[in-house]
């Protein structure tokens, strides 16, 4: 036992990663006050606290302001193409259970161009943590309405105000078969953002975290009312969900005890319009994961390949001395 303990200590010493070990040599280029910064910080803290080996951590993103995040992480990053972060991440994970996979995606990236992948990623329920940076606008392309923009939102493509009701990423996600983890966070309560990310990270399956993210450049004042008035935030707590520190509890008094296995209530909370719910809406650890279901029974070896090829060729071989009687298989 003492041997185990010292081995453990040794490991701690050897791999004691500091926050800076997760920071790349590129300085973030987001606008001042951009909510993405808080999300990056929370991620780096999580990696540090979990002591994730940077070489075993993969951050996949699509295209957008938010999708720049992997560049700022010292980890393996994959800054791919618009809307396709999820299928890339699924491919990364399918044969690499040893890697921790994070996905960063914007509201346009995830709920518009990548909507099909979003629905199916929820259904595959692969082991990964998905962060939806929802600023309710297209940031990178300079202010066009997104599917999550509030109705009436003025933008460069909706100069007279958008005409459609927004899509609600929480209700949509909760409605997909095999959904296993849905949470909502906001960039301006960093403690809860961190706690939620941590829960998401420890969930086995796909954890979907929608983060309401401020974009001071194009959605100035969008969340001001909520930032100023903590009572407009409804904090979800539970023994199996968030447990609030006294400091947070003191400021955010509007709390609801919500059992994350209660889908009915989760849907009702997701649909709340006048307040912003924050916490774990749904968490069912029993949902099977596609990567587990599809994990081969055995690793691929040359001997296995040779055997299977031989078996397959045998079925269609004409031997030179084909007097070979055919055994009824």
């Amino acid at each position: 036992m003492s041997e185990n303990l010292s081995a453990c200590m040794m490991r701690m010493v050897e791999t004691d990663y500091a926050l800076s070990d997760y920071q790349s040599d590129i300085a973030p280029r987001w606008c001042v006050g951009c909510g993405d910064t808080a999300i990056l910080t929370a991620m780096q803290k999580l990696c540090r606290d979990e002591q994730l080996a940077p070489e075993k951590t993969v951050c996949v993103s699509g295209i957008g302001c938010s999708s720049r995040l992997p560049h700022y992480m010292n980890a393996y990053g994959f800054h791919g193409i618009h809307g396709r972060a999820l299928p890339v991440a699924e491919g990364v994970k399918i044969r690499r259970p040893d890697l921790d996979v994070f996905v960063t995606t914007g509201d346009g990236d995830c709920t518009s161009i990548g909507a099909a992948h979003w629905i199916h990623a929820i259904r595959y329920n692969m082991n990964m943590t998905v962060l939806l940076h929802d600023n309710q606008i297209y940031g990178l392309t300079k202010k066009q309405a997104s599917p999550t923009s509030p109705i009436g939102q003025k933008s460069n493509t909706t100069p007279f105000g958008s005409v459609l009701l927004p899509l609600n990423p929480l209700t949509v996600t909760l409605g997909v078969a095999n959904v296993s983890f849905v949470a909502q966070a906001v960039d301006w309560i960093p403690d809860l953002l961190y706690d939620i990310l941590k829960k998401a990270f420890h969930h086995r399956g796909l954890s979907f975290v929608r983060i309401l993210q401020r974009c001071p450049e194009f959605m100035q004042h969008r969340f001001d009312d909520y930032v100023r008035d903590p009572s407009k935030m409804r904090i979800l707590t539970h023994g199996n969900g968030l447990r609030l520190s006294p400091e947070v509890s003191r400021v955010y008094k509007n709390q609801e005890t919500h059992d994350p296995l209660d889908m009915g209530r989760a849907l009702a909370i997701a649909a709340i319009a006048d307040e912003i719910p924050v916490g774990i809406l749904y968490n069912d650890p029993s949902v099977p994961c596609y990567d587990d279901l599809r994990a081969g029974e055995r690793p691929s070896t040359p001997a296995l390949v040779e055997t299977v090829l031989r078996e397959e060729f045998d079925k269609v071989t004409i031997w030179p001395d084909d007097a070979e009687p055919v055994a009824a298989e």
Binding site: G77, G296, E306, A328
Partner: protein
């Protein structure tokens, strides 16, 4: 063996009911067509398998209706198989059929309309329609039979259903085995081999079913021997080495296994899907995964993710799917992620001809994406080649960190041909995923100036952390928009093609080293083109052919070869504007893809011939095209 058909006559043993002399043929083309669901496909495949096991060279072609359950007795619903078998090797589906078995007159009409039956050819018709209770049907049958007789076809009416009813209650289920027996009788194929084939088909069912089908088989044979004056033999010679018989899609699937790739991501699309079907049955046994994604974009992105984090992956598709993958392919090119893309081409554009052959995707494969996106494009030309090309493609992809496109097509997909049984080599497989630490000062894009190749860093490798990006980037993989850095990336990605090109060898010419006409082709047309060259040379025309395996990059030396011929013409199964059209001039003419590529590279006035009729090119049609080009019609 004598090459001229129907000439020698040999005596048969007098053991059969009515011994007839069998006409010795060097080859024959047989077609069996029925409504879909009546088993003509299985009958044809089995017939091909028996011939192959006898030692005949074979090439089978599936006749596929475009719908799953087309209406009965319809021209569009013809389903079945063409079997071309010969004393020597067969490399393509050949010209018109010599003998056709039709389960009704409508499916026969579909073959007649397509000009797939030789004038004066033999037609065996199910005769039950003559007395059909529906007067319209009976009349239609009688009229067609009358008409084809007048046109000079040799028509035999066969009471297939009547004969089957003597043995089984549901003749729709047994007719195909009766026909198989009949064909084995007509072509003097060995009874033992035929029975063994039936046992193989129904191997998993109980003995009663096997016995019942063997009874049908024997009944078909003895009916033919008693009632038909048709008796042929196509002498066969058993190969001295073991042969495997399969179609191109199966060969591709086995090639994927043999290449050591571990992830295949796909979305169903004809005619590619049966590759994934086959793979799905065996891939898990070797510890690997076929992932059916939500669409082709996801399939491609999934394969890219898997390649990035491990061994090179493969995605399998057909034309419309290739179009959807293009953006993701550009990412793989830009970020230098190895990837194998198998495109089993079909007729296009749009949904086009889903089940039919066309070589229409060459330009999309080479130039399909936006920007300058160099990819390797190669095309298998035989069933055997389908197998080995995947292994080669995987190696190139991983050596150069490139996208390698493999262009098969609907013709190779379903055609069966024997080839020497491959013997496994461990060096086919991908090496284990590198997880060793990256040297301290190494960069993720340390392009080697001689080859353009940079060693990729794979997640899990300590010190290798970097952010891969589809944006322009420098050697550190940092986003960079500087003109010099952008050009450095473009240059090195392009260099890889040049480096690969220096390793390619020009395939040998078929025919002579110089002469009047050089035909250049690629992909599935190999057999038809080379057969045409043989015919032309026998007619005294100095024709030769060159068949390219690599379309991008192309092996060096093509220019030199072309100089030795008076005319050069590409032969392709895709569109080109006919000069006979009053609107088409040499200036506005749109050339076939390969012709266009060769013209631009070599500044040679290359002509092209081919068509996009959804059918494999016929050797005689190529011969006619060449003769016409040379003014020797």
């Amino acid at each position: 063996m004598d090459n001229k058909a129907e000439q020698a006559v040999i005596e048969r043993q007098p053991s059969k009911p009515r011994p007839k002399p069998a006409v010795v043929l060097s080859e024959h083309i047989v077609e069996i067509v029925s409504d879909s669901g009546e088993g003509a496909q299985r009958c044809g495949q089995s017939f091909g398998a028996i011939a192959a096991r006898s030692g005949n060279g074979i090439w089978t072609v599936e006749i596929i209706p475009a719908e799953i359950q087309p209406p009965h007795r319809s021209v569009a619903g013809a389903s079945g198989n063409r079997v071309r078998f010969a004393s020597g090797p067969v490399t393509n589906g050949g010209n018109e059929a010599d003998l056709v078995v039709a389960f009704n007159e409508q499916v026969l009409l579909s073959r007649l309309h397509a000009d797939e039956i030789k004038p004066g050819g033999i037609i065996l018709m199910e005769s039950k329609w003559r007395n059909d209770r529906n007067a319209g049907i009976a009349a239609s049958y009688a009229q067609v039979v009358e008409e084809i007789r007048t046109r000079g076809f040799r028509v035999y009416e066969v009471p297939m259903e009547v004969e089957c009813l003597k043995l089984v209650p549901d003749p729709r289920k047994g007719k195909n085995m009766f026909v198989l027996g009949m064909l084995c009788g007509i072509y003097s194929l060995d009874e033992g081999l035929a029975r063994a084939q039936v046992a193989r088909i129904f191997g998993k069912k109980d003995q009663k079913i096997i016995d019942a089908n063997i009874e049908l088989l024997d009944a078909g044979r003895s009916w033919a021997e008693t009632n038909l004056d048709l008796r042929f033999t196509v002498p066969a010679k058993r190969a001295t080495e073991a042969q495997v018989v399969m179609n191109g899609n199966t060969a591709l699937a086995l090639g994927v296994v043999a290449s050591g790739m571990e992830v295949c991501a796909m979305y169903p699309i004809t005619p590619a899907t049966s590759t994934s079907h086959y793979l799905s049955n065996i891939f898990e046994k070797v510890g690997c995964v076929v992932h059916q994604a939500e669409d082709e974009i996801a399939a491609c992105a999934f394969a890219i993710g898997a390649s990035y984090a491990g061994k090179c992956a493969v995605t399998i598709t057909s034309g419309p799917g290739l179009s959807l993958k293009q953006e993701a392919l550009g990412l793989a090119v830009m970020a230098e992620i190895p990837l194998v893309v198998i495109d089993v081409q079909r007729g296009g554009p749009s949904t086009g001809l889903p089940t039919k052959v066309e070589q229409g995707d060459l330009m999309a494969a080479i130039f399909g994406g936006h920007g300058d996106a160099p990819k390797v494009v190669m095309a298998p030309s035989t069933i055997e080649d389908c197998f080995y090309s995947v292994i080669t493609a995987r190696k190139i992809a991983e050596t150069f960190n490139m996208v390698v496109m493999l262009l098969s097509d609907a013709s190779l997909a379903t055609a069966q041909q024997p080839f020497p049984r491959p013997s496994f080599r461990e060096d086919w497989l991908a090496p284990p995923v590198n997880q060793s630490p990256v040297p301290e000062d190494a960069k993720p894009y340390d392009w080697d100036p001689r080859t353009g190749i940079a060693t990729r860093f794979i997640p899990g490798q300590p010190n290798g952390m970097h952010c891969l990006t589809g944006l322009a980037h420098d050697r550190d993989s940092h986003v960079a928009y500087d003109p010099e850095i952008n050009e450095e990336g473009l240059l090195n990605r392009s260099r890889k093609l040049a480096a690969l090109q220096t390793t390619l060898r020009l395939p040998p010419l078929c025919g002579g080293d110089s002469g009047e006409m050089l035909l250049i082709g690629w992909g599935s047309t190999l057999g038809a083109i080379e057969e045409a060259v043989g015919i032309l040379r026998a007619q005294g025309i100095a024709a030769s052919s060159l068949h390219l395996k690599f379309l991008q990059p192309m092996a060096s030396g093509i220019g030199e070869v072309m100089k030795r011929f008076t005319h050069v013409m590409s032969i392709e199964n895709n569109w080109n504007d006919p000069l006979s059209d009053p609107l088409i001039t040499p200036e506005n003419r749109r050339y076939s893809s390969l012709a266009l590529l060769l013209r631009s590279r070599y500044l040679v006035d290359i002509d092209c011939w081919g068509n996009a009729r959804g059918q494999p090119l016929k050797p005689t049609a190529i011969v006619a095209a060449v003769r016409s080009k040379l003014g020797k019609e």
